[in-house]
């Protein structure tokens, strides 16, 4: 085992897969000699050269479209979109082209594309650099969406994403980039679509994504002191998401809280809540609670107030415990 930072997990995954497979190329703004705005490609240019580490103009739609064509012709591009908020300038490429090309062209070829992008707040970067838009992509058939929360998961999931023959959106969280964690020295991957129980418990299931996994773990410590043992499920993949793990846990705890950083309305939490209520309503001893950001843009100054945190998880857990039929 070794301890690395989250962003190094990203880099190691790219590095290892590029070494293994010549068809993998990495495309983005400032990803060459600068090594990327968050350092994900530091040193990669030196190893793989400018043919495989491609520094582009500020033209996200152009980049994503190029990745689409390259994938259709046999390459396996990884695209970095510097901030998730910038996905708004290349939605056509992602949604109308990449997500649909395989299916609409008769399922005759594959579209192995990874789009990596950091979302979320934490840098006081304001309304146009802090959004969590993953639910949009989960609403689009033909895209897989993962949201790793630890160095271990990001490395393993990114490697799976690169090997996947389908388009995968990999959503990082800026505030996790510096997070340290252990990973094996040997090669490993994390399967897309599998959740991970980050802490087991018996009283309340907390399904969390990305940064909110850590907030839920923090909440867990506080709640433990009150005698409440929550089970923290790190969803890891939001499309497809791991119904089995969630259902098993709810079947045990009979209480569910869902926590993400995105606003609640039409977020992935709504989907999970809906599916649980539809399919295993009888298992619930109390209404499901969702934790998410308030329904306003992310303000530059009040980010700390804005961001959902462990306190919100504690409150939601307590609320769902209030009532026992």
């Amino acid at each position: 085992m070794k301890e690395i930072r989250y962003i190094w997990g990203v880099k190691e995954a790219i590095y290892e897969e590029m070494e293994k497979d010549e068809q993998v190329v990495f495309i983005g703004e400032d990803v060459g000699s600068p090594g990327g705005s968050f350092g994900a490609s530091k040193g990669l240019l030196e190893t793989f050269g400018s043919e495989r580490i491609i520094d582009t103009p500020i033209s996200e739609a152009g980049i994503v479209g190029m990745a689409a064509g390259a994938a259709a012709c046999g390459l396996r591009p990884i695209v970095e979109i510097m901030f998730m908020d910038f996905m708004t300038v290349c939605m056509d490429g992602i949604v109308n082209q990449i997500a649909k090309m395989r299916y609409m062209f008769g399922s005759r070829y594959s579209m192995p594309i990874v789009i990596r992008t950091p979302g979320g707040g934490g840098l006081n970067a304001g309304p146009q650099h802090s959004q969590c838009l993953e639910a949009w992509f989960a609403h689009v058939p033909g895209l897989k969406v993962v949201m790793p929360s630890t160095p271990y998961d990001v490395k393993g999931l990114l490697k799976s994403a690169i090997r996947d023959d389908n388009p995968v959106i990999v959503v990082e969280n800026k505030s996790l980039h510096a997070l340290k964690g252990e990973i094996p020295n040997d090669e490993y991957v994390v399967e897309i679509g599998k959740a991970d129980i980050k802490k087991s418990g018996t009283d309340v299931t907390v399904v969390a994504t990305s940064r909110m996994v850590h907030e839920s773990l923090k909440a867990s410590e506080k709640l433990s002191k009150q005698g409440i043992e929550i089970e923290v499920i790190d969803l890891r993949s939001i499309s497809p998401w791991d119904k089995e793990t969630v259902f098993n846990s709810v079947g045990k705890t009979h209480h569910l809280v869902i926590a993400h950083e995105a606003v609640k309305q039409c977020g992935i939490g709504a989907e999970i809540s809906a599916v649980v209520a539809e399919e295993i309503m009888d298992e619930l001893d109390a209404p499901i609670e969702r934790v998410g950001a308030p329904f306003v843009p992310v303000p530059f100054n009040l980010e700390q107030v804005y961001l959902p945190d462990s306190e919100n998880v504690v409150t939601a857990v307590e609320k769902t415990m209030e009532r026992l039929f």
């Binding site: 033209s59 739609a61 479209g65 064509g69 390259a70 259709a72 609409m104 008769g106």
Partner: protein, 319 residues
């Protein structure tokens, strides 16, 4: 002017006729209600796809647009396969899921028509990048209309192609109309080829004359194949019919259409062939008859091809 063998010229003529007759037949079967959705025909513009695609090998790539029948046929799709796709049949190259507006066939390097104006231009770059990366001598041709050059993707893609020196030829078929809007309403320049200077890309504007297009395309394709980078070819083309089949063109001056029809790229080519004695009435008649038969057979093939099973809907979203 490039020297072409008689045989080759007859072949090009045949290809142009095939496209026109195919479009005419499509208008007919569409009016019958046999084809769902909407279709955009390229009658009046046949010279460009044939002149440009004749420079290409099967392994070269081509990306095109909603007005894409001519390009697909010129790039080598068989009429029966083509028709089956437009009829939405399971044996079409896209299993009937694409239809006219998204027809693709990677076996022939056809990257796909596109329902999004400007959507295909960055994708074409990707194909060009892939072949450059693999160090093949493949080139990519990307067709679009003058309307598409107002989209941001046109700009981004040409800049990227220039920076990366991609082996790609951008071909703008300027037919003067974007849906129901004439060029003068949506841009202040006349020659779209001027836009290439923003990226230091060589460019040329040619008329709808087959040989002009052919020569310009040949030079640009050669350039790309030699690794000298992208280029932009603009053809001053003309759209005879409505934006889509069924559009009565009420917004358009009859005289303008008449003028366009008078300088028919096919008629001009035919006249040349007759003058040069490459073509005569008899051969011409045979060509027309053969193509009619071929097209009728394609329609019949499509009609009798299996409709998709409902169960196909959910098949193979994922690779």
């Amino acid at each position: 002017m490039t020297k072409l063998s008689k045989k080759t010229m007859i072949l090009f003529y045949t290809q142009m006729i095939r496209i026109r007759k195919m479009e005419e037949k499509l208008m007919e079967v569409f009016a019958n209600g046999e084809i769902p959705g909407f279709i955009h025909v390229c009658i009046g513009q046949e010279a460009t796809p044939v002149a440009v695609c004749s420079q290409l090998n099967d392994s070269d790539y081509m990306a095109n647009t909603h007005r894409g029948h001519g390009h697909a046929l010129a790039k080598g799709i068989k009429p029966d396969m083509f028709m089956a796709e437009l009829f939405g049949r399971s044996n079409g190259p896209c299993r009937g899921r694409a239809g006219s507006m998204h027809l693709a066939d990677m076996n022939l390097g056809i990257l796909g028509a596109n329902g999004i104006v400007g959507g295909g231009i960055p994708i074409a770059n990707g194909a060009a990048f892939a072949s450059m990366y693999k160090k093949t001598d493949q080139v990519t041709v990307c067709f679009f209309g003058e309307g598409a050059t107002d989209e941001g993707t046109f700009h981004e893609a040409l800049n990227i192609a220039s920076v990366m020196k991609l082996p790609i030829i951008f071909v703008c078929e300027n037919n003067g109309w974007a849906e129901f809007t004439p060029q003068s309403v949506h841009m202040t320049i006349k020659d779209v080829s001027k836009r290439a200077a923003s990226y230091k890309i060589p460019a040329k504007t040619v008329s709808n004359d087959f040989f002009e297009i052919y020569d310009a395309a040949a030079a640009f394709v050669k350039r790309a194949r030699q690794g000298k980078g992208p280029s932009l070819l603009e053809v001053q083309s003309s759209r005879w019919h409505g934006h889509f089949v069924g559009d009565a063109q009420k917004y358009r001056d009859k005289k303008e259409i008449d003028t366009a029809m008078k300088s028919d790229c096919i008629a001009n080519f035919k006249k040349y062939l007759f003058e040069k004695k490459i073509l005569n009435k008899k051969i011409n008649q045979k060509i027309l008859t053969d193509i009619d038969q071929e097209i009728d057979a394609a329609v019949e093939f499509a009609r009798t091809s299996p409709l998709p099973e409902a169960s196909e809907l959910m098949e193979e979203l994922w690779a």
